[in-house]
Amino acid sequence: MRVAENLNAALHAVLEADPSAYVIGEDITDPYGGAFKITKGLSSRFPDRVLGTPISESGITGLAAGLALCGDAAIVEIMFGDFVALAFDQIVNFAAKSVSMYGSHVPMRMVVRCPSGGGRGYGPTHSQSLQKHFVGVPGLSVYEMSPLHDNRVVLEEMLAAGRPAVFFEDKVLYTRRMHDVGDLFLHDHLAGSGGTAGAARVFLEDPEAADCVIIAPGGMVERAVGAMRRLLLEQEVSCTLVVPSRLHPFDVEPLLPSLRRARAVLVAEESTAGGTWGSEVAHRIHAHLWRDLRRPVTLVHSADSVIPTALHLERSVLVQESTIHDAVLEALRD
């Protein structure tokens, strides 16, 4: 099953199970079914609760918050995650704040879906990974779609938490197969980390015994696994990849035993440089393990640059398989 099909099935399941659930967004109704076809079939089955909207990201995100305030569950599709900047006020100053600013817990069942990331030549305003801008907002969770996490479980977790979540979905991932980590590696889930769905792990034999641990969200899995394969076959370096579903709040404690044993720890993400999610994760790890680590956590991210459109230029800016590969070797050098 492709990731897009898994996500589509998850949305069907949420709407079917919860008569108070809505899916809202631009061009999401049939026959178009959304810019990335993720909402295909939803409006035909649930015409009253799958609503195609005007091009008004702030308006529809606020509308979703209003539904959530009334106890409904609202899932908003932002056509390109870049446009979530237009809804920043509604997410940060209203939806997330409402959870606690009125002095008692106000449950807000609301998910803002953001197809994100580059690699498709869409250029500077349709290729970004804006996760970092939502890290550390009180009352707000940040999740990222992964080929190793069933989207139904993740969606249900986000809605059950009773606080708004921004869900980043790497666009390239839509076309990939679920649970595909190649023929060399195994994968499992580490309970209690990265949301109740747990962080997924990709490893050779023993996830707790690797030269290097790479922590990376779902959009990086293909590139990270590619790098791990080359490192193993060409350098005999073993890596464990940890893929959290929930990026923030991030549960670092369950990872500590394996991090303590590794010779190098990396955090890899597609975000451009500066104030990254990885720097937050690294800080948390340093606070726990400063005396045990051989060297500081290595941050792998895209360049401090806009994301160009031309294929060769885009590649020069975004994190590639080779970026991770080289960063692991560098981290293990000394």
């Binding site: 005007p54 008004s56 209003g66 002095g103």
Partner: protein
Amino acid sequence: MTEPSVALAGSTLPAGDDLDLLLLIRHFELALLDLFGRGELNGTTHTCLGQEYVPVALRGLLGEADHVFSNHRGHGHYLARFQDPAGLLAEIMGREGAVCRGVGGSQHILRDRYVSTGVQGESLPVATGVALHLKRTSPGALACVFIGDGTWGEGAVYEALNLAALWRLPLLVVVEHNGIAQSTPTTRQMSGTVRARAQAFGARHHGVETSDVAAIRRELAPLVSEVRFEGRPLVVEFATHRLGPHSKGDDTRPPEVVRQAEANDWYRRYAEADPARFGAADRAQRERVAAVVAEVAARPPAGWDPCA
């Protein structure tokens, strides 16, 4: 465009409970300015002096099933809904018994179906979501949003109006057009009119020129009913006056502008129209608020755990 003017209300005083509520809000706001002056309040606040009659008139048109969205200048809206000066003052003073445990303060309050937020225009899209919910689950109920003339500078207002008109949502937008956005006169921040803006979206518009509570209700009752049952959003624009500063001690208006606002104030008119009845009601509410201030100020601080 011209400065809004409030036509003189008749010499008839509002009914007893309406007059009491008008005076409760007036004395509550005056008490807040006094507390600020004495350094007993933390942060800031925005009083609705001069505009008290707007929520008082509307309370006769709104029911418990209706949601009300207030804004930064919301004390009158809250008191008209709940008549709970002690809970509100405790919120503003951070004392035990505060409506929102002292977290929200003057401009962030949630109680039952009443919610206020401090960012201009933010509540309109939220209200459309609430209106959508109401249309589906409790037909006949509406979402009422209080905004000012300055709020029309925000794009969210237009996104929400478009959605509300397009989807025929029961949305009532109450514009308290007091002619000034913080320190900027409307003539320097708005091109065109509120009426034309509403009409551009196919929303109905109605201007209110009087401050007579009973007359306002008579005018608006059939229109509000249309909002409830025909799903046609309504923008009601009150030509009103802000007597006091935007927040506290920050009034840069020329004296003649403030004098004009005072000349239109319902308080003075009603006092002159029926000194005996007004005087008694005025005294009662002043004393009521004074007692609330004394009682709330003596309470222990509000408790709240940020990590709970």
